[in-house]
């Protein structure tokens, strides 16, 4: 059986959970078994996971799980994996999943490959999995040989597919004693999709000249329903908040569309964004290194190009 830990920050299943279950279902098909989803705490609409391919949905509803502690979460997931004879355990490669997956590997005496971005191939009793390494500069293939295998799935690596039907949620009880972290507060930015989950990201750099010019970037993001990001010097000079900083030292993202405005494309910036599916670069310097990593490019002054682009997108949105 393939067990998917479907995480539910503050009680809500998010895209990462639907991706993980969709992926889990496909892995289960490869192995000729079924996919079971596990949720922890009070979770809204857990039955929905059936639509993404879970044949059963288990919920350990103890309220203590609503505050994250990798120790108690891993203990619970490992318990369920053992009791149900899971051969593969899948988590999302998120702040939650990363903190849990390593612990599961030790608890279950299992091999872990983290940040996997495609389906495995089955080699006898082993699984072969690919992930991006060296900040996107190479691809590694790993083989897990242990009887139990742990995979953490990179965000945006698979598209959630709701082809099945909801299933009724089975309540289970698990041991809860292990946690020692006291969560005091969770501060999130309201509104926009968080960067790691965003499908479209509009990002701008030092070419913007100053924070007072960001209106055109905000407008572009608004039209596309995108999340905004920035280069490191922009965050370091406090033109934009730190949580928008992408790249090697900031957040690594892999949206479907990344629009880079007035960013030179330094290697440390590319390290965080070069796994984007499609990259559009707007830069007045035709020699800017970013053009080498781009799919589409516009050589021109961003203060002229971006307002025109906004008009073109608006026109497109109005007729589509």
């Amino acid at each position: 059986m393939v067990l998917v830990f479907a995480e539910s920050p503050r009680g809500n299943l998010k895209k990462a959970a639907f991706e993980a279950v969709t992926y889990g279902k496909k892995v289960a098909e490869l192995l000729g078994t079924d996919c079971v989803a596990l949720t922890l705490g009070t979770v809204k609409d857990a039955a929905e996971l059936g639509r993404y391919g879970a044949s059963r949905v288990l919920n350990a509803g103890d309220a203590s799980f609503e505050k994250f502690d990798s120790q108690s979460h891993a203990a619970a997931i490992a318990d369920v994996a053992k009791n149900n004879g899971a051969s593969v355990v899948i988590t999302s490669h998120t702040s939650t999943g990363k903190a849990v997956a390593g612990r599961l590997a030790i608890r279950l005496n299992a091999g872990l490959v983290s940040g996997v971005n495609s389906l495995p191939s089955v080699e006898g009793g082993a699984l072969r999995l690919k992930k991006s390494v060296f900040s996107g500069k190479a691809i590694a293939e790993y083989e897990i040989n242990s009887p139990v295998k742990i995979i953490s799935l990179m965000g945006n690596a698979v598209k959630p597919e709701a082809t099945g039907n909801p299933v009724s949620v089975e309540n289970i009880s698990v041991s809860t004693g292990a946690g020692r972290i006291r969560v005091k507060d969770v501060k999130t930015q309201e509104g926009r999709v968080p960067l790691p989950e965003a499908e479209i990201v509009v990002s701008a750099g030092r070419g913007m000249k100053g924070p007072e010019h960001w209106g055109i970037v905000e407008e572009l993001a608004e039209i596309l329903g995108a999340t905004t990001a920035c280069s490191r010097p922009v965050a370091d000079s406090h033109w934009r908040p730190h949580h928008e900083h992408v790249g090697q030292t900031g957040i690594a993202i892999r949206p479907n569309l990344y629009i880079a405005i007035g960013i030179s494309g330094a290697i440390q910036h590319l390290a965080g964004v070069n796994n984007s599916k499609v990259i559009v670069v707007v830069n007045k310097d035709p020699e800017a290194p970013f053009f080498k990593a781009a799919d589409y490019g516009v050589v021109g002054d961003l203060f002229e190009v971006v307002p025109r682009l906004n008009e073109a997108f608006k026109k497109f949105k109005a007729s589509n």
């Binding site: 120790q71 849990v100 940040g115 969770v186 501060k187």
Partner: protein, 246 residues
């Protein structure tokens, strides 16, 4: 205060990445190696700040061959009091975590610091594994860490925000941007680093459950398609019809 900082050595950010002909080994020829930035800038510096405020000792630990000693000396120059090198090729995160945990098990550290991830194999695995081996709480991607007696207050980066939490010593933490400001070693630091103790420890054996099969380079991009700056309708059309991303 007894603090452990796990430091790894990685190829320089700007290094050209290549592999041997059958794709089984990283090509280290001509590559410059550095201390993994998160370990150096955030984990190590915050540990040194706490030691400066509260007394005690900072131990820098690396699992690696003797050739890593330049990197380890840099950690001493930045401010670690002593260093330990576990004499082994760090074959995987699981292998590395096992070595770190076995060393730390009897040393009674108050805090074990790591970086949020290494920039070469990008795993973010070691910290959680060490914490599980030692049965300790683990706070990953921490961008703030303050201590008040036995109780630490931390902020942890989560998707679209931060989580504020408290935990008692001892614990394992992985450091992200924000926890401290990078320090450049000064002349005095570099001089004293030469005389600080650097101990060599032998590894314990470990059965590898995961092995690297092959490394490849990503397929080259087809090349950029340029659109005239006065024809943004064309760019929108391409994104819709050709790239199919809007």
């Amino acid at each position: 205060m007894k603090l452990l900082v796990c430091i790894s050595q990685t190829p320089d950010t700007t290094a050209k990445v290549s592999f041997n002909a059958d794709g089984t080994e990283f090509n280290a020829a001509g590559v410059q190696f550095i201390m993994n930035p998160y370990d150096e800038w955030y984990a190590l510096v915050r540990a040194c700040e706490l030691r400066e405020a509260l007394g005690g000792a900072v131990v820098a630990l690396n699992v690696g061959p003797a050739s890593n000693e330049t990197t380890i000396r840099k950690a001493l120059a930045i401010g670690a009091d002593e260093a330990v090198r576990i004499n082994a090729e760090p074959k995987s995160a699981a292998y590395t975590a096992k070595q770190i945990a076995e060393y730390a098990r009897n040393e009674k550290f108050d805090i074990i610091f790591l970086g949020k991830e290494t920039i070469d194999y990008n795993g973010s695995e070691v910290g959680a594994m060490v914490a599980e081996y030692l049965d300790l709480p683990y706070i990953s991607y921490a961008s703030k860490l303050d201590l008040n007696g036995n109780v630490a207050t931390l902020e942890r980066d989560i998707e679209g925000g931060v989580e504020v939490l408290e935990v008692d010593l001892p614990f394992v933490v992985s450091a992200a941007k924000g926890m401290a400001e990078q320090r450049i070693p000064n002349m005095r630091g570099i001089m004293t680093a030469r005389t600080k103790p650097l101990k060599e420890v032998q590894p314990v054996s470990f059965d590898e459950p995961v092995k690297a099969v092959r490394f490849t380079l990503p397929p080259a991009k087809a090349g950029v398609k340029l659109v005239e700056p006065d024809n943004m309708d064309e760019l929108v059309r391409l994104l819709h019809e050709e790239a199919k991303v809007i």
